[in-house]
């Protein structure tokens, strides 16, 4: 996107890089290790922190998975922050409009909100895709524009509808308990007695992983980002693949934004950076950290969401910590992660426009 990679590698980073590669090569060991760490964390931390973490991971994880598809296909979508904003906002507006707590045409209004939220997000992604793929816009700048437009549009509409940059409150999703599974010790209450958007996130991560690594489409996405010309000459329309990938990033980000809005927030605050508050950017850092692995992105989102909820827990527990400084911990983490794991290689053609027949 800007400068190419530099040639030097710090030894520290090399070690981490090697560790990561070796983990990637031994998925079973990685899985077992991951589960062990996971259980340890579950066992030693308060339950309220765990549920908060899970809920706050939703927009980060799903936006990150969406971002993976776009970027893997060669389109850096820095506008996912904007997609989170519009989807969360429109979902809540739709629920309020159809009637809080009711159902329309047999479908609960909350799910209508979800649907429309995703749709709006996809529309914005489509706008972004057209601008980048048809008109050869610089992806980073177009992405920033999408963010800025969303940042203005949501409170703008909110003021017109509600006479306030903040929307009304709606009744949020309720917990869905899976009968037997929720009885599993340690993880049952967390993973199988939770809200729909959390299930969506878990399913989304698995679906994202499957789609990317097991299907034809996934292979095309990878090829389109690494060497679009190769894909083109293999008879696949690169443009279509990129459209699909960017729209898919709209779907995932939409699920994340709408799920977060309907399941966790129940209201949309439009002042400042809005209630999304940079979660889309954290999502980008998350998938870079995860080296574009959807499951990795899920785990990474736990890290960031967990750090974020940690401060609330610590404060409530009476630790006198300077809040302002604590708030920056996740962001510092992002930088540290980038510095030490920065070897994440961007897809070769990421950020470049591709025109079939160009030499």
């Amino acid at each position: 996107m800007t400068r190419g990679p530099t040639t030097e590698v710090t030894p520290m980073r090399n070690a981490i890089h090697r560790a990561r590669t070796s983990l990637e090569q031994r998925p079973l060991a990685a899985a077992v290790g991951g589960v062990a760490v996971f259980l340890l964390v579950l066992w030693t931390t308060p339950a309220s922190w765990q549920t908060s973490t899970l809920r706050f991971a939703v927009p980060i994880a799903l936006a990150a998975i969406g971002g993976i598809f776009a970027e893997k296909s060669g389109v850096i979508n820095i506008g996912i922050e904007g997609l989170l904003i519009v989807s969360a906002f429109s979902a809540i507006v739709v629920v309020d409009w159809l009637g809080d707590g009711g159902a329309t045409a047999g479908l609960p209004n909350l799910w209508w909100g979800m649907l429309i939220g995703v749709l709006v997000s996809v529309l914005f992604a489509l706008l972004f895709a057209v601008v980048c793929l048809e008109f050869e816009a610089d992806q980073i700048i177009a992405g920033l524009a999408v963010w800025l437009i969303s940042l203005g549009l949501a409170p703008f509409i909110s003021r017109i509808l509600f006479d306030s940059p903040n929307t009304v409150n709606i009744t949020r999703f309720e917990n869905v308990t899976v009968p037997v599974l929720s009885e599993i010790p340690l993880v049952g209450y967390l993973l199988f007695d939770t809200e729909p958007q959390v299930y969506l996130m878990l399913a989304g991560a698995v679906a994202g992983w499957y789609l990317l690594s097991r299907t034809t489409f996934g292979r095309w996405v990878v090829a389109s980002g690494e060497n679009p010309k190769a894909l083109d000459t293999a008879g696949v329309d690169v443009r279509k693949v990129r459209y699909a990938a960017v729209l898919l990033s709209g779907v995932f980000a939409g699920l994340g934004g709408a799920g977060f809005g309907l399941g966790t927030l129940g209201t949309f605050a439009g002042t400042g950076d809005t209630v999304i508050n940079g979660r889309g950017f954290i999502a980008i850092a998350t998938y870079l950290l995860a080296n574009y692995h959807p499951i990795g992105a899920l785990l990474g989102s736990f890290l960031f969401a967990g750090l974020n909820s940690m401060q609330d827990v610590l404060q409530a527990a009476g630790y006198a910590i300077p809040t302002e400084l604590i708030r920056t911990i996740p962001h510092m983490t992002v930088i540290v992660v980038l510095v030490f794991v920065g070897r994440t290689r961007l897809p070769d053609a990421a950020g470049d426009h591709y025109e079939s027949g160009d030499d």
Binding site: V131, F135, F156, P322, E324
Partner: protein
């Protein structure tokens, strides 16, 4: 003769400067049009006592009025009675213009070096605090008056102005520069993507400065999160005769300084070795390295310069606008991105774009007070402008549709074509 004219016209059309200006203007117009439609349509969903009845709906907002307020309100409504040049709205517009020139230049310098510095905001926040703190502490040690050899007594105020303002600006530039150098170094030596690090550093800047504030620099006489005020004489002085009055918080001197800096940066790019190396790095890092540019150092240097410019922006925000540092810094740095993008990263263009966004800011206030249209409209317009500026192809395509430019482009002779020697078939 016609050929000649055509070739001149062609050169003009291809000249990138003209290209950029046309595209920027087209983007502005398109964004304004779309914004107008948005305003009009959204008026149907707003509630108002009286509005335009059309097709069963009531349209509450008049886009013409909105733009009237936006553009002319920012100048103080020159078409209405009782207008004076040095009015408050225009002062606000120019105040913003001045500040946006600094942050726009900051972004432009980095962009030209191929670095997307989203971190001007953070650099401005940090630089501003450094300025305020430096000036507040230094003003305590500035001597009350100095007696020059001839017996001329220079009062503290004058000394203060002459010493403290440059000192404050320098402090801002230094702090901003260091804070810009950080992502530069992370990029150069750890390959950390600067877009992400600068976004993060913006948030971290808020955390750090607010912690510093509550730890040490909070004005004890105030409950607002802010530093103690700098002495009156350390604020940027206004030109009493031609300028805007003191309570306008705008100084023509500051604007002049900003413009001078703008010209200086343009000169740096065009005339100096450093500027040449910076531009080369931005366009083609491989070629820059080949040409003897140490890419890592250039990354750090350009980010430092960029940060310093952001820091200067913070310094002027402190010294010209508030006379102190406040915890909630307006989004001057983010607007700087828009300014620079609209200006095509050209330093001189930054001046024009800054004026436009100055109008947006001040006119935005006008919209907020004089109409019921949500002032967030300005944010949407900014986003739309950036979006359209980012897609020059869109306007080129439009242009090609309506202005037929047939491919009169002369065929380039392929020098040294072997066949050419003995009159073999020419290739075109």
């Amino acid at each position: 003769m016609r050929d000649r004219l055509e070739s001149i016209a062609e050169r003009l059309a291809r000249a990138s400067v003209v290209d950029r200006i046309v595209i920027s203007l087209a983007a502005l117009v398109t964004a304004v049009l779309i914004g107008g439609v948005l305003v009009f349509v959204s008026g149907a969903f707003a509630s108002c006592r009286t509005g335009l009845e059309m097709g069963g709906a009531t349209f509450c907002y008049n886009p013409m009025q909105v733009y009237y307020e936006l553009f002319l309100g920012a100048l103080g409504h020159p078409l209405e009675g009782g207008w004076t040049l040095t009015n408050y709205s225009l002062a606000t517009t120019l105040q913003r213009t001045t500040l946006l020139i600094f942050s726009g230049l900051s972004v432009a310098v980095a962009f030209r070096a191929g670095l997307l510095n989203i971190g001007t905001q953070g650099q401005l926040v940090v630089g501003g605090l450094a300025t305020a703190v430096t000036v507040v502490y230094a003003s305590a040690v500035v001597p009350a008056r100095i007696v020059l050899p001839l017996g001329v007594v220079v009062p503290a105020g004058v000394i203060g102005t002459v010493v403290l303002i440059p000192l404050g600006v320098l402090a801002g530039a230094l702090a901003g520069g260091v804070y810009g150098a950080v992502p530069g170094a992370l990029k150069a030596y750890a390959d950390a993507n600067e877009v992400i690090t600068t976004i993060m550093l913006n948030i971290i800047a808020v955390g750090i400065t607010s912690t510093l504030l509550s730890w040490q620099f909070q004005d004890p006489n105030s409950t607002n999160p802010q530093t103690a005020p700098v002495p009156e004489y350390a604020e940027i002085p206004t030109l009493p005769v031609v300028g805007f009055g003191g309570r306008m918080n705008f100084s023509l001197l500051a604007l002049a300084f900003a413009v001078a800096l703008m010209v200086g940066i343009a000169w740096l790019f065009a005339r100096t070795s450093f500027g040449y190396e910076l531009r080369t790095s931005g366009i083609q890092p491989g070629a820059a390295a080949y040409g003897g540019v140490d890419e890592k150092r250039m990354t750090v240097a350009s980010m430092t310069l960029s940060g310093a410019l952001g820091g200067i922006g913070g310094a002027f925000w402190v010294l010209m606008v508030h006379g102190r540092w406040l915890e909630n810094v307006p989004s001057l740095g983010f607007d700087g991105i828009a300014v620079s993008v609209l200006a095509g990263n050209s330093p001189i263009g930054v001046g024009a774009a800054a004026f436009l966004f100055g109008i947006f800011d001040s006119g935005g206030n006008s919209i907020g007070t004089a109409t019921d249209v949500p002032p967030e409209l300005v944010g949407i317009l900014t986003g739309l402008i950036i979006l359209f500026v980012a897609m020059p192809e869109f306007f080129r395509m439009l242009g090609r549709r309506y202005v037929t430019v047939d491919s009169a482009r002369p065929a380039r002779t392929d020098g040294g074509d072997a066949g050419a020697d003995d009159g073999g078939d020419a290739d075109a």
